[in-house]
Amino acid sequence: MRSRLFKPTLIWLQGVTCNGNTHSFLNLPYLPQLLARFEVLYHPLLPCSQSLEEIARCRRGCDVLVFEGAFDPMMERAGVTLERLVAYYAEEAGHVIAAGSCASFGGIFKAAAPERNSGLAYAGEHPDGPLLGKAGKVINLSGCPVHPEWLGFALMNIAEGRPISVDALGRPTALYRHMAHDGCLRNEYFEWKVDAEQFGRKEGCLFYEHGCRGPLTHASCNRTLWNGVSSKMRVGTPCFGCTEPDFPRRNLFETKTNMSIPEEVPVGVSKRAYLTMTGIAKSFKIKRLEERLTDDD
C-alpha cells in the first residue's frame, strides 16, 4: 500500500463529449475525500493547479490520465490536437482511465461519425484506438455516463496502489463481471415470464417486450445503485446496455424478436436451452405475479 503522503498527479482531459461523465462524477458522495488523495493538475470544472493552456504545452506528465468523451484525433484543445495531447500524457501516466462509453468504445459520437471517432483503445469491440499499444494501462469504465461509484472505485484503488483486474474489454471485473440483471427487483417476473406491459410500474419484467438489456449487459447498476437509491429498472425503464461496446443501439424500447421469439437471449445461455426453459416457465400462471403490488394506480 502506498504512503498516504504520496499524491498521484491527475489530469482530466475531454474529447468529444456532453460533459455527462463529469456531471456524474460530481455526484460522488465522497468526492472531496477522493480528490484529496490526488494532486489535480487539470480538470475542466473542478479546482486545479493548471490551466488548459498550460496543460496543452505538454511540459510535465501526470500519474493518472482520465479521458472523457470520444477520441477525435483532429479535435483541438487550446490549439493542440487531441492526438498529441493523449499520446503525450498516456506515455507518461501509470494509469489511463477511459471515463464513460465514448472514451471506452466511441459511444454515441462514434455512431455519428465512425470514420473520425473512437474510444481510447477500442472502436466498438474492435481493438482499434490510439492507445491500442498501451491497452494494458487503459481502464475502461464504460457507461453512459460512468457510474460515479465506479470511477471512485478505480481512482481509490490507484491512490492505494492496489492492482485492478480487468476483463477482455479492459473493464474492471469487480464492477463488470455481473450483469445489470443482478439485483434487479423484477427477477421473479423474469423467471416466470411475466411482462411489464407498461413503463414506470413496479410490476413485471421489461425484457420480453420493452427492450431491457439487463441479462445481456455487464454492469453493476442494480448492485451499486445510482445516488444510492435507484436504477433504470427499479423505476420501470429498460436497461439500455450502455456499458457494452455496441451502445448506442437503435429501438431502445423494443425487444427484437423473430416470430415472437427473442433474437438475443441472456449471456451464457444457448438459445435452444433458453427456449425450452421459457416455454415451460410460461406454462405456469402465477396469480400473485399477475396482480398489482398496490391497489392505487
Binding site: 416470430m259 415472437s260 435452444r272 415451460i280
Partner: protein
C-alpha cells in the same frame, strides 16, 4: 433385453394398442400381455396408465424434436428445411402412424389425462423448441417473414396434421408422399418474406 429396451418395447406396443383400440378401452393388462410380461412387472416400468400416457407424449415429442433438430443444424435454406420437415413428418406418419395418431387423437383430445404436470408446453417442449429455432433462424436469415409465432406454427403444423388426418381416414386418393412437394411449396409461400 435391457431395462431400457423393455421400456421402449412397452412404449411402442402401447402406442399401437392405443391406435387400434382407443385410449380408454386399452387396459394395462392388455399392454402387459402384448409385451409378454406380468401386470406386476409392468408396474415396475410405469406406475399408472396416466404416467404411461405422459411418457408417451414425451417420447413422441423427443423423437420429433431430435429429427427436426438434425434438420435445423444441417445445411440448407429455410425452404429446404421446410421440405425436409414435411418429408420427415409424412414418413413418420406412414411408417409409424401410431405416433402421430397418439399425438393428434389422444394427447390433443384427452387433455384431462395429462393433467397439470403436462400443461402448456411442459410435455411437448422438445418438439416446440425445435420449431421455434426453425422459425427464428428463418426470420434472422431474412428468408421468412416476421409474424406471430402461433400464426406460423398453426399454419405449419395444422396443415401437416390435417393431411395426416385425411390420410388416416383414407380420404386421400394418393399416398402421403406424393403431396410432399406441393405442401412444402404452399407452406414456404405462406411464410416467406414478400
Amino acid at each position: 433385453m435391457s431395462k431400457e429396451e423393455r421400456k421402449e418395447n412397452i412404449i411402442s406396443t402401447a402406442l399401437k394398442l392405443f391406435a387400434e383400440k382407443g385410449f380408454y378401452v386399452t387396459t394395462i393388462p392388455d399392454i402387459a400381455a402384448k409385451v409378454g410380461m406380468s401386470v406386476g412387472n409392468f408396474y415396475n416400468y410405469f406406475s399408472s396408465k396416466d404416467i404411461l400416457a405422459k411418457e408417451l407424449i414425451l417420447y413422441i415429442s423427443e423423437y420429433l424434436g431430435k429429427h427436426i433438430r438434425e434438420i435445423n443444424e444441417g445445411p440448407g435454406s429455410a425452404k429446404d428445411k421446410i421440405s425436409a420437415i414435411v418429408t420427415f413428418y409424412f414418413t413418420m406418419a406412414t411408417e409409424r402412424p401410431e405416433m402421430i395418431e397418439y399425438f393428434l387423437r389422444i394427447y390433443l383430445s384427452n387433455r384431462e389425462v395429462f393433467g397439470e404436470s403436462c400443461e402448456g408446453m411442459v410435455c411437448v417442449s422438445p418438439f416446440i423448441t425445435e420449431m421455434m429455432i426453425f422459425f427464428d433462424d428463418g426470420v434472422a436469415g431474412g428468408e421468412l417473414r416476421d409474424q406471430d409465432f402461433f400464426s406460423a406454427f398453426g399454419l405449419f403444423m395444422g396443415y401437416l396434421g390435417g393431411m395426416v388426418f385425411l390420410f388416416g381416414e383414407k380420404i386421400l386418393p394418393e399416398p402421403l408422399s406424393s403431396y410432399e412437394a406441393s405442401i412444402a411449396e404452399n407452406i414456404y409461400r405462406a411464410l416467406k418474406t414478400v
